[in-house]
Each structure stands twice: as C-alpha cells, then as structure tokens.
Symmetry: C2
Subunit: 420 residues, 2 copies
Amino acid sequence: MNPGDRVRVDREDRTYEGVVLPSSTDDHLVVKLEGGYNVGVDRDEAAVEVLAEDVYEIDGTDSMGADEDDEATSEIEFDEELPTISLISTGGTIASTVDYRTGAVTAQFDAEDVLRAVPDLAGRANYRGRVVANILSENMEPPIWQELAEAVHEEIEAGADGVVVMHGTDTMQYSAAALAFMLETPVPIVFTGSQRSADRPSSDNVMNAVSAVEAAKSDCAEVLVCMHGSESDDVCALHRGTRVRKNHTSRRDAFETVGAEPLGTVDYETEEIEFHRDYQQRGATDLEIEPELEEGVELLKFTPGMDPQFLDVVEGSAGLIIEGTGLGHVHTDLIPRIEELIDDGTTVVMTSQCLEGRVCDRVYDTGRDLLDAGVIEAGDTLPGTAKVKLMWALANSENVEEAMSTSLAGELQERSVPWE
Amino acid sequence: MNPGDRVRVDREDRTYEGVVLPSSTDDHLVVKLEGGYNVGVDRDEAAVEVLAEDVYEIDGTDSMGADEDDEATSEIEFDEELPTISLISTGGTIASTVDYRTGAVTAQFDAEDVLRAVPDLAGRANYRGRVVANILSENMEPPIWQELAEAVHEEIEAGADGVVVMHGTDTMQYSAAALAFMLETPVPIVFTGSQRSADRPSSDNVMNAVSAVEAAKSDCAEVLVCMHGSESDDVCALHRGTRVRKNHTSRRDAFETVGAEPLGTVDYETEEIEFHRDYQQRGATDLEIEPELEEGVELLKFTPGMDPQFLDVVEGSAGLIIEGTGLGHVHTDLIPRIEELIDDGTTVVMTSQCLEGRVCDRVYDTGRDLLDAGVIEAGDTLPGTAKVKLMWALANSENVEEAMSTSLAGELQERSVPWE
C-alpha cells in the first residue's frame, strides 16, 4: 500500500478506516482518520486491507486541524485506549522535513509533517494537530504567545490529555515562560524542538518528539521543555518552562535548568519518566487562561561603558528589566536616571547577568541606592523569564511588586512555589 | 612588639630593618621596608629586636607606593630570594578590611590593607603596592582599564615578577579581558577578588589572595582570574581572562571558564599549581602595551518583543555587539535597520546569549541575511569579551573583521590561539 491509499485496519479490539500517511514505514502505519486524528498502527498487531488506491491527495501542506471536514466514511475516530495528545506547531527545525515527493525541504510545517517525519509517534496516542504559526523562532513575538496560549487552552478544553508544542529552539524558553504565566493547566504542556534538522544523521527530532509525547501523557501538569538531556540518545530532560535556558548554540543537550537539576527525565529506551522534584499533578488545578500582556516592557543588559541613552528609549515604557552585574548592580551614575523612570511610572526590575543565584541589593551601597530608587528585585528569576513575567504581571496582577517577588510558576526557585 | 614599632629582623642569611605592620600575628611579622616593599617574616626562622617603639603612625589609609619617601634607615629593601609581586588595588570586597584601630570598615583600600587583611601573604614574595582606583567594580569604566594597563605595564617594567590585581567581582571579567587585549606580558597578571567580605567567617579573601600570589609567581604569562574553584576551601581555579564569567551572584566559586575547563588550579594546602591546558610561558613574549580603546561600542541583548528603537541609540556609534539568540539571530524585521547601521559605518558583531558554543550564521536564512548585511561573527567569543575586544580592535587593528574572527588572547576557543 502507498501513502494516499484508503485502508481498513483490523486490530484485535477495533477497526479503523482512513488514509495512509507518508510517514508510514514497514513497521508502522500512520492512518489519518476523520476529525483531525491520526492513529499509529503497529503492523505486527494489525491486518491492513487497501480499500481504494490514491484516494486522498497529500500535498505536504494541508492542515489536519480537528475542524477539517474531510469526506467522512469512518465512524471510528480514535483508539479509546490511548490518550489524546494535541500537537501544536509554531515552526522551527523539528517541524522541518524533506518533502516526500520532491525531496525539497518543505517551508510549510504542520503537525502532520511531524508525524511524517517521526513515524515512531505512531501508536503512542491519538493525535490532534494544529498550526498556530509557521515562523523561525527568532521572529516569535508576544502576540503569538497569546495566540498559542489560546490554542492550547482550546485544545485542552476540547479534551486533549496533553499538549506538545513544537517550537524553534532560539526563543523556546521565552514562549514556554509566557504560557506558564498565562495558563493554569490540568494537563502537561510540553515544548519540544530540534537542534539538528531531520535530514542530518544526528538529528534529535525523533527522540525529542517521542519523549515530549510521553511527557505529555505523564502526570506532570506544568509547562515543560523536553529536549535532549545528554550528548547521547539516552534521555531527554524535562525542564520547568520558567527556569530553562538554551545554554549552547548547537549541542543537542543545549537546554538546561538554571540553578537546579531538571524536573525530570524521559528514558528513551524504556520510555520511563522519572521526576526528581515535586511538581503540579495532573488535574490538580482547573483550566484557566489569562493571556493579556503589557507589551511595553524592555530588557537592558548593563555592561561597563554602556551608553546611558539606552535608558532614554525606555522613557514612557511600562516596564524595564535590567540585567545587572553580580548581586544586581549598575554604574551608580545611572541610578538617578532609573529613579526618574520609576517616578514617571516605569516599573524597573533587577535581575543578574550571572544567571545563577539571587539578586540581593541589600549588601552593597549601589544596591541599596537602587532599592531606594524603587527598583524591584526579581530574586533568582532569569532575566528573559523576568521580562515575560513583568509583561504578564503588569496586565494581570494587582500588586506588581509582590508578583515579581513571588513565585507564580516556579520561576523563583529559592522561595517556595505553590506546589512545593 | 606592636604595629608601628621599628624592628631589626635577623634571619640566617640577612638582616632587615623596618616597621611592623598591623597584620602581624604570632607566627608572622609583616615588616614595611623602604621603597614600597613589605617583607613577611616567619617568627620561627628569625630573631626580632625592637629598635624603637611606635615610630611610625599607621592610620589605615596611607599608601605604600614605591615612590613613597619614608624616613629611610635600612639599606635592605627586599629578600632577594623571593620574587617581587606587585599588588595593584582597584577596590572591591577583597580589599575591604575592618580598620584595626576603630573597628569600622575602611573606605580606603590599598595594597597595604590587603597585607593587613591577609597575613598569610607574608613570606611568599616581596610586595610592591599600588592603588589605581578605589571603586565599586560596577563603576569600572574603559578609561580606568587604560590606567590599570598602564600601571601594570609600569610595574612589570620596574621589575615585578608577577602582578596581582585586586578587583571587585562584578566586572572583573571585563577588566581582565581588557588587559588581555591591551598587554603582551612576559609575566603573570592575576586578577583576584572576594565574593564575601573579610568580616564574614566564610570569606574567600585569604585563600584567593594567597592563591593569586602563587599564580603570579608561576610560569603562566597570561592575564588570569584566580578565584575559588569549588565550594570548599581546597582549590582556586585559574581562568583565562578572556573566557571567564561570573556565573553566580553569591557563591565563592562563582567564576567559571565558559566552554572549557579552567586553565589550571592552585591547591591551597600544598600550594601546588597545575595547568590542564597549554598556556603562554613566562618570558615567551616581550612586554608591550596598546591601551587605546574606541569607547563608542555598545552591547544589545535581543529578546522577543525588543523595541527596535534601541538600534537608533547605536546610530553613529563605532561598534555594536549583538547578543543574538541561538546560533546568532535576531528578529528578521531588525535586519534592514542593522544593514543601515553598517552602511553608515558601525561595525556590528554577532555573539550568542547562549554563552556556550559558536555563532554560525550560515545555517538558517536569518543568519545568512545578517551576514549579507555585513554582520561579523565572533565565533564563541563571550558577548562581554566581544565588546571589550571590539573597543580595542577598532582602535588598534588594521582589519577589524579579521581581528574579530581570530583569537588574539584566547577569547576564541574553538580556533587555535597563538600558543596552542
């Protein structure tokens, strides 16, 4: 049989009808059912009969959204024994795949492409697919975080038992943090991506996608990042979305939890998931969304010799994150200008370019002067996460200073988070 | 005997006369000789006679510069068997000490304070002291890097066998990088500092200062940073000045070599120095200084949602370091503006906020567009080091693009450095 053929699949307990997708291999078929579900079929465990050849034109660019209205002939929409995982695509290397007809790398990415690129996903879940964006992640912007949060919210409302978000690695940490602040979730929301494209022998796309789906089926109802946990193909690490950082430009295990061990790991061979720290359990909270953001928040990294005019750009902005030195310092000449900004209504929050450890502006004169000027300390919140959080807090929190000093989604490690 | 007494010290092979300093303990005397040298005396190995009591008023703030014209009575200026180490102070926690008369923390730091605070330095070297600045290191500025380089140059010209620069930890990495580009040195130049002040039981000031002096006596003629190498008091790590980063706000072992092991270690107990990688040997190069800097260089960290107006501030600047995402990206909407800057004469250099790994703008479209716009890649040079290097290269290099793509002082690890 060939991709595009309509087939009937007989398994021990049920029967499907659908269209064979190009990702199918000798061992696995991926069959597209109606209503946005794709089902993986292990050939060893099923009898497959071709009903009609080439009935379905697969052009590599069609969406497989749940709303899609294909010619429905099958009444079986999914394997009730498997959880339903929503695959949301935003673009990036993991969703790139060589077009199965032309050999060219497709510019159109959707969740179906991921199933084509990763046949190993078959049989692990019923999949719902959805394309929120198709961008390079350096072009990710706050309004797309909002669209993404809305899409995830809708998918969970529609019954997804977990969500996998495929995202370019460059700004994955910012988007994961955004969703962590915008959403209260009763199911896992797992970001994954790929540092090496699928056409490279060392590609990490299969293992990351498979591990992300396993994590999305797990008991951990948090916003996670699932990427290679070592240079080998043995484990993926599960990072809390607000504490993770891409710490290497090219390594597959580029993502690290800053200031702690990762929350957990997925063993690729055994598929066993282990959590090393406490986390929010599946179902512990109701689904909620607060997607509003104040976009007028900037981040400035202080370095010796910095032009003070950078502070002028911030004039009139709602918020400013400073990446200070050490415990949270800047050149003392900048403090009066920062105080003016605060007096004019800009919320100024201090973080450290050290990345690890808390800021503490009570130790040295410069810090005390910054506190006197009204600067808020962000504890050990990572600067990028602090920017996202301040955008969210300015739009949603009654007391922004308190919000920035409190852990809302695990971003502030050294104080207690709600579930620890 | 008491601090301020004039004494004669008889050792097996020589005799000194000088004034006892307050750092003296039962085991060690520190005796201030004429001409800027302080000598440590092990009481077990010397007979000491008081010549006159309280002849020298020590007020805790006097300089002990080599040019100082004290009442000279002794002809013996230093122990010829010991190397001469120049201690240069710029301020910071390591040089802070509780005033021995008033109990207050002195605001005036000089090298003599360090000898008072760290009696263990006695007997390891003849010391020359010099104060270049007395500032919090967040206030360090490029003109002071130049003064510091000039001072180090003068000390080495005057015969110092090694130089220890005491510096606040907040911006130590930037200053160390500056000196690494400005100076060719035949002797070690070792930056050290303290993460915890001397009045705290966990202070790292003694071990760091002692280890830095040992490193300054070593065979490694590079600009190094010597700070705690672990959370214990067992080893100090020796970091190449262009590759080091303060990676924790408060830990004593906050400093790390990025992307490699430290160059070496100093065992605090055995005083043994081990180097794990190749380095420039003592005497391998002549002393040279090129302290010119182009100060109009800015650093911008790109984050999602960044206000493009930050690029307007750079208009007319000589140089810009971008901390891009991943392999070296920014939002593609910014590229035309960056191209305009380059066309107007600004040198724009790409680094990565990942910190580890090289930028490589040949992989994705965004990167290729940046290269087409004229952006220069800085390999795996750390963003802060790249800023310092570009300031230096714009003032000293005939071909800035080539300079930024070449390792001048070990800052570009994955290509060969001159001595590796």
